[in-house]
């Protein structure tokens, strides 16, 4: 008999064709429509920023793998670094300068992921670690939003002008398209003592089109396409329904409640769900396998926590948006959730004691 059959191999002797790389590729495919829509909405600078961020994430990954003396190619091919860079790019202001993307991408894979030991080892979502680091370090650049300017519009920067914006910053010619996001605008105006009803009826409210043509990050605009991508992932059983449903409910329920109590101080649930990173967070960020619980009930707890914390941070803290902070806070609870909320084992009750045979 030939020698390979003498190799000791443990059962099972057959395996799924699924792989980490395939999962990541599916997630990217689900993100693609929303990303393309956002590219169209914000033009070339957004495309350049996306490329720079992903390239930086890959660079950070490569550097660390080299330093650790590990094989580079299989780790890069699993797609996790690309996905991290991609998600980070979707959470940045679309016309942010190149170094924001570069710093963020490197930070995400080096500090957010590789220092913990690489794929599967990190406690916190790398993209959100990088986003929060950027937000705290460069608050000006990270809150410099622009109103949508579709790539097909005459005023939109072309291939070269777009490169100029990404590399050299926003030229004065485009000053008038600077805009706040809806959540940011509301936060600023309310801090001046104005009521919500007054703010939203004023003339200079940032556009908040339901279709997604609004100021914000790439992943904030294409809300419906993000949700559709998320639904596709659920259908393909890549993600469960628990985290997205619980997180959106965690935002919507308190939002609806407080809005009903005082509409002059609290935004309604619909605005909350369609603004900021709510959808991107619920479907693509909080659902990150590595940093979220692995049981259905644990995921419900985790998702609810992400949602409620997002609402609390948006409403009562100094930041207009809270998805990144909420997800990171809940990431830190994941190990505890996983060791306390376990599924019921066959033949045992919830406490782990054996069932009574007489039952």
């Amino acid at each position: 008999m030939n020698p390979t059959s003498a190799m000791p191999v443990a059962a099972p002797h057959t395996a799924t064709a699924n792989s980490a790389g395939r999962i990541m590729a599916t997630v990217m495919a689900a993100l693609a429509p929303a990303t393309l829509f956002a590219f169209w909405l914000f033009g070339w600078p957004a495309i350049y920023l996306w490329i720079v961020t992903i390239a930086a994430a890959l660079l950070g990954e490569t550097l660390c793998l080299r330093l650790a003396g590990r094989e580079v190619a299989p780790a890069l091919l699993d797609g996790s670094a690309v996905l991290t860079g991609w998600l980070l790019a979707l959470s940045l202001p679309p016309w942010a300068p190149w170094w924001i993307g570069a710093f963020g991408g490197l930070f995400a894979t080096i500090i957010g992921k590789q220092v913990f030991g690489g794929l599967g080892q990190n406690l916190f979502n790398p993209a959100m670690v990088a986003r929060v680091a950027l937000l705290i370090s460069f608050p000006v650049q990270m809150t410099a939003w622009v109103a949508p300017l579709p790539i097909s519009a005459a005023a939109a920067p072309g291939l070269l002008a777009g490169l100029h914006i990404t590399l050299g910053g926003l030229p004065p010619a485009f000053d008038d398209i600077a805009s706040a996001t809806l959540l940011g605008h509301v936060k600023t105006e309310m801090s001046r003592g104005l009521g919500l009803l007054h703010i939203l009826s004023a003339s200079r409210v940032p556009s908040a089109s339901l279709l997604g043509a609004r100021a914000g990050s790439l992943g904030e605009t294409a809300t419906w396409l993000i949700a559709a991508g998320g639904a596709a992932l659920m259908f393909l059983r890549i993600i469960g329904w628990q985290i997205p449903a619980a997180m959106l409910a965690g935002i919507a329920v308190p939002a609806a409640l407080f809005h009903a109590i005082d509409p002059d101080r609290y935004l309604n649930a619909g605005t909350h769900l369609l603004s900021g990173g709510a959808m991107l967070g619920a479907f693509f960020i909080a659902t990150d396998y590595v940093t979220s619980p692995s049981t259905p009930r644990g995921r419900l707890v985790y998702g609810t926590g992400c949602g409620v914390l997002t609402y609390v941070i948006r409403t009562w803290s100094g930041y207009p948006e809270g998805v990144a902070f909420a997800v990171l806070l809940m990431n830190s609870l994941t190990p505890i959730i996983d060791s306390t909320i376990k599924p019921r084992v066959y033949g045992r009750d919830r406490t782990g004691a054996a069932l009574e045979p007489g039952k």
Partner: protein
């Protein structure tokens, strides 16, 4: 099965691998002519090995006792061919280690002459105890792969007053179709065997669970059971591991076997369809278990199918009978999910072997492992509700107690977790390793304890002996003194 059942009644556990049962399952059963020499291992079951009762050079007939059962849990073996006992020695065991174990080899005279059997017209006139005795004498063990002596289970079922016999026709392992074949071709034997088992354990009904990917077997069994309303044919969804006792019991009765308890304690007993047919042969025909249907399948096999073969036949001979297209890259005894890899083909067919798979290079390719991405696929696939990813991370870190806290002991090693793992981690290997380590630790703890007990007993004994010696010395001294005093008194008593 309607959409409602599909959505709401389909089990949430398990996996659905490509079953690859056809075309092998549809090929008519073939019979292997008696090989030149068979190697009948002594130890083919759970429990103690039997003791040989034949001598080298002795003429034996087919079905003649070769070794008798020893102890409470054991089973005898019988000669699968007629001929001459050629030797009693070692042969490679059907185990991944490739270590040897004892076997009796018999040279066939190609006559296939049976012993004088005494067929029985009505087994239901026999007492359950007598049926149990005859089943034990025929060497019938669980043929689904568990190989637990069937008669021991009969006695257990009677003692615990089991009401329901579950006949396991699940055969959820991909590639295998030996149970499918026995139900298609020998449905009457299976049903009759099930009724005899019911009689032996005192059960009121028999539920035959058959996965719905075997419509021909379901149809044949329904016809065979038509005259016996107490034998109910129950199709179950095709989902691995439906053929596992605990999962099949739950699917058929809704009952859950408590942890660390036996199925009989919830009033059910599970026997495989092939076991039932073997009981039929043992009781009705008086034939001991000497042959079985085995599936020969895999990409390297030229004419895959099921073969009726004498036990003790070498795997190589079975493969040669079905033809090989290419040199197999891996040989497996059993199914691909739980089967044992064989180191070579000079290994005998044993009672528990439902299949022999010869994989070609593509089937045998071992995917590269990657890091765990905590996707949780293993947890949703686990039919026991365990968290394989958590157990694995603890086993990898050497934290066996941590793994036990995640109920490692409830793992049935079905392989679902390792099958679905996108990182292709050898999870079952981790768990088997950990269970082995724990068992070794337990043994060494028992050894230490007994050594401690012995040491303590010795101390107590030495103390007692010293005390007894001192007491004896004191007594002697006292006696001496008393004697002296008496002597003095006698002397001091002059006339």
């Amino acid at each position: 099965m309607g959409l409602f059942e599909r959505i709401f009644k389909e089990p949430r556990w398990g996996v659905h691998p490509d079953d690859r049962k056809r075309p092998a399952a549809d090929v008519p059963l073939r019979r292997l002519p008696p090989p030149e020499r068979i190697y009948m291992p002594l130890h083919q079951h759970v429990g103690a090995a039997p003791r040989p009762v034949v001598q080298v050079g002795q003429k034996v007939r087919k079905g003649q006792l070769l070794a008798e059962a020893q102890g409470n849990i054991s089973a005898p073996i019988h000669s699968p061919v007629s001929g001459t006992v050629a030797g009693i020695g070692e042969i490679t065991a059907p185990h991944a280690s490739g270590l040897g174990f004892a076997a009796i080899s018999v040279d066939s005279d190609f006559q296939d002459r049976w012993i004088d059997t005494d067929p029985l017209a009505d087994p239901f006139l026999l007492s359950p105890e007598e049926i149990t005795k005859r089943t034990a004498a025929a060497g019938v063990v669980g043929l689904g792969g568990a190989t637990f002596p069937s008669a021991v289970k009969f006695s257990l079922g009677r003692r615990l007053a089991v009401g329901t016999l579950i006949v396991n026709g699940g055969e959820c392992e991909p590639y295998l179709s030996s149970d499918d074949r026995i139900m298609r071709d020998y449905a009457e034997q299976v049903v009759d065997g099930a009724r005899i088992v019911m009689h032996a354990i005192g059960a009121r009904e028999a539920l035959v669970g058959i996965e719905d990917n075997k419509p021909e077997a379901i149809a044949a069994m329904k016809i065979a059971a038509m005259a016996h309303p107490e034998v109910k044919i129950r199709p179950v969804p095709a989902r691995y591991p439906m053929g596992s006792d605990k999962q099949l019991i739950q699917a058929l009765t809704g009952k859950e076997v408590p942890a660390d308890a036996r199925a009989a304690e919830v009033g059910v007993l599970v026997h495989n369809v092939s076991t039932c047919a073997a009981v039929h042969k043992a009781i009705r025909l008086g034939q001991p278990l000497v042959e079985r249907i085995v599936t020969i399948n895999g990409g390297a096999v030229a004419r895959p199918g099921n073969v009726f073969a004498p036990l003790g036949t070498l795997v190589d001979e079975l493969l040669a009978f079905c033809g090989l297209k290419v040199t197999p890259s891996r040989l497996i005894l059993g199914g691909p999910m739980m089967g044992t890899p064989l180191v070579h083909g000079r290994v005998p067919l044993v009672k528990g072997a439902s299949g022999i798979l010869a994989f070609d290079a593509r089937e045998a390719a071992v995917p590269k492992t990657g890091p765990c991405i905590r996707c949780g696929a293993c947890a949703s696939a686990c039919p026991m509700g365990l968290l394989p990813l958590e157990m694995a991370s603890r086993v990898r870190a050497g934290d066996l107690d941590g793994a036990v806290d995640f109920d490692l002991s409830d793992c049935i090693a079905c392989g679902c977790c390792a099958y679905v793992c996108p990182a292709h981690l050898p999870l079952v290997q981790y768990f088997s390793h950990a269970k082995g380590e724990l068992a070794a630790r337990e043994r060494s703890r028992l050894r230490t304890e007994s050594a401690k007990r012995l040491a303590q007993a010795r101390l107590v004994r030495l103390e007692r002996e010293a005390k007894e010696k001192a007491e004896a010395a004191a007594r002697r001294k006292a006696e001496r003194n008393a004697a002296k005093a008496r002597a003095a008194a006698e002397q001091g008593e002059p006339a």
